[in-house]
């Protein structure tokens, strides 16, 4: 097995395959890495209910096997969890997790040589609180009655405990302000080729559809991970058919274009920007949650921005945010974490991206997509 190859595969453990997001391959591959001591620990989600889960670091193979399944309303980001711990670790990672892990690697907070990034294709995730409200308002069902959820042909389908299915198109949901988080709508990393191995359900055809995982090996580490799982008898793979490969490429392209369209729609030129920013930030209570959660920031608890958590003076802008707007201009990956946690619902990701977009475009720098040094850390830039 080597970089560039594609496979379709599944878990050899029947229950893992059944519970898995597609073929349970990711879970089994992570478990095999732990079992065969390729890594000392694995990060997985521990489910609380249909909408909530907490990421855990574990060395227990059973705990890993229990984690099978995709949770679309758990918009967590794993990068900070493994930062500054010097772990030999394997973990699942959506596009935004992967980008953040790489940026942490550049800041010496994660040793990428010891980190196996299992990429998950990602069409988007939802905020758990918004999801609950959406179920009541749009689907007219009680969140507690939900038993399962899936996305098929542009529809978000919830299954209730009575066995009924409830489907609404994602377009309609998003028109009403529900559905995917705003940042996911304009995210263009749909297949994380920046990870070691990219896994998803796109491209699985025929009888296997929904029962197998499509993988693309992006690095030597990715090849090692998959080979190890096959050798250990945890997963089975076969070559994908041409139709599947083409289908996957097509969906990827369509989704990326859709992301670009959303981006153009959301980031429109604007007058009275100062008034806009002041209005948006006027309710900030300086709790610092947006900094704590930011997965590309590797500063400690006390850092330059946190020195300015005060509003005693008559300053017309938050110094805390001004410092962060500057520091994140080349690092912000638009992961949505800051907006998710803000207790006063400031659309922070949009604000941060308004400062990040122009710098990243001008310097042709895409954070978390490769190992290029952040321009802010350079001594000299070529004009």
């Amino acid at each position: 097995m080597q970089k560039g190859e594609m496979y379709v595969g599944w878990s050899t453990k029947e229950d893992v395959r059944k519970r898995g997001g597609s073929g349970g391959l990711v879970t089994s591959m992570l478990a095999a890495a732990l079992e065969k001591k390729l890594v000392d620990a694995v990060v997985v989600l521990k489910k609380i209910n249909e909408f909530e889960a907490v990421p855990i670091i574990t060395s227990d193979v059973n705990e890993v096997l229990n984690s099978a399944g995709s949770l679309h309303s758990v918009p967590s980001n794993f990068a900070k969890l493994i930062a500054d711990r010097n772990l030999k670790v394997a973990l699942p990672a959506k596009g935004c997790d992967t980008r953040a892990i790489i940026e942490q690697g550049k800041r010496n907070a994660i040793n990428l040589d010891n980190t196996y990034i299992v990429g998950l294709n990602c069409g988007g995730s939802m905020h758990p609180v918004v999801t609950r409200e959406m179920l009541e308002v749009m689907y007219k069902i009680k969140p507690e009655d939900v038993h399962g959820e899936e996305i098929e042909k542009g529809k978000l389908i919830f299954e209730t405990k009575d066995g009924k299915e409830h489907a609404i198109t994602i377009d309609e949901l998003e028109e009403k302000g529900y559905g995917r988080r705003e940042s996911c709508r304009y995210c263009t990393i749909k297949v994380p080729n920046n990870s070691d191995i990219a896994c998803g359900n796109w491209g699985v055809t025929g009888d296997l559809a929904g029962k197998a995982t499509f993988v693309e090996i992006n690095s030597d580490k990715g090849a090692k991970l998959l080979q190890n799982a096959v050798d250990a008898g945890y997963v089975q793979v076969q070559k994908p058919d041409e139709k599947g490969v083409a289908m996957r490429a097509k969906i990827k392209g369509v989704m990326e274009d859709l992301g670009k369209k959303w981006k153009a729609k959301i980031f429109v030129p604007m007058d009275n920007r100062l008034e806009f920013f002041r209005k948006e930030l006027e309710n900030c209570i300086d709790c610092g949650a947006c900094k704590t959660v930011c997965p590309t920031c590797s500063c400690g608890e006390v850092s330059k921005c946190t020195e300015f958590h005060m509003r005693g003076d008559a300053y017309k802008m938050s110094m805390y945010h001004l410092v962060r707007f500057t520091h994140l201009a080349d690092a912000c990956i638009g992961c949505g974490q800051c907006s998710d946690v803000c207790p006063v619902d400031i659309p922070l990701t949009r604000l941060y991206m308004m400062f990040a977009n122009p710098i990243q475009e001008q310097l042709k720098y895409e954070p978390g997509m490769d190992m290029r040094k952040p321009p802010y850390f350079e001594v000299k830039l070529n004009d």
Binding site: N272, R273, L274, E275, F276, F277, K304, D313, A314, Y315, K316, M317, M319, L322, V323, F325, T326, A329, D330, M354, F355, P358, I359, Q362, P375, Y376, E378, V379, K380, L381
Partner: protein, 149 residues
């Protein structure tokens, strides 16, 4: 006093301009401007740093939030930095700083970068005079706190 009245040049409103000057060049430039008796307005508040590379975007934000109508970042000509490449780093930081200030919607006249050597007293004086005239035209900074003139 309304903003209009304040910004009306005939009322004699003098903008406050904070100029960060490098010890080895533009600070000397400011000095030789004085010694050469070049006419310059009283608008500039000069802050000396040991190298333009010491200027943190934070210092510039602070100047604006405390009431500066314009902030100038100045240093040695590229290649002449006393500490080899401090001003190359200034260029990078300035790019990021400028981006934040522009995206915030602050007029471009209010933040300017210039390389001025110790012997360029006249250039320094002209720079301050030009910026002062530009700022008099556009009036006080929208970031100026209430009650500060």
């Amino acid at each position: 006093m309304s903003t209009d009245a304040k910004s009306n040049p005939s009322n004699g409103w003098e903008p406050k301009i904070v100029a960060f000057c490098c010890n080895w060049c533009s600070y000397g430039g400011a000095d030789s401007a004085g010694m050469g008796r070049f006419q310059q307005p009283a608008s500039a508040r000069i802050i000396r740093v040991m190298c333009s590379g010491r200027i943190d975007p934070l210092h510039v934000f602070n100047a604006f939030l405390e009431g500066a109508d314009a902030v100038l970042v100045t240093g040695c000509h590229i290649g002449d930095c006393h500490y080899v490449n401090g001003n190359d780093k200034t260029k990078i930081k300035y790019k990021y700083l400028e981006n934040v200030v522009r995206e915030l919607g602050i007029e471009k006249e209010r933040l300017q970068l210039n390389w001025i050597s110790a012997s360029e007293g006249e250039k320094f004086a002209n720079f301050i005079r030009d910026v002062t005239a530009q700022i008099k035209k556009i009036g006080p900074s929208p970031l100026k706190p209430e009650g500060v003139v």
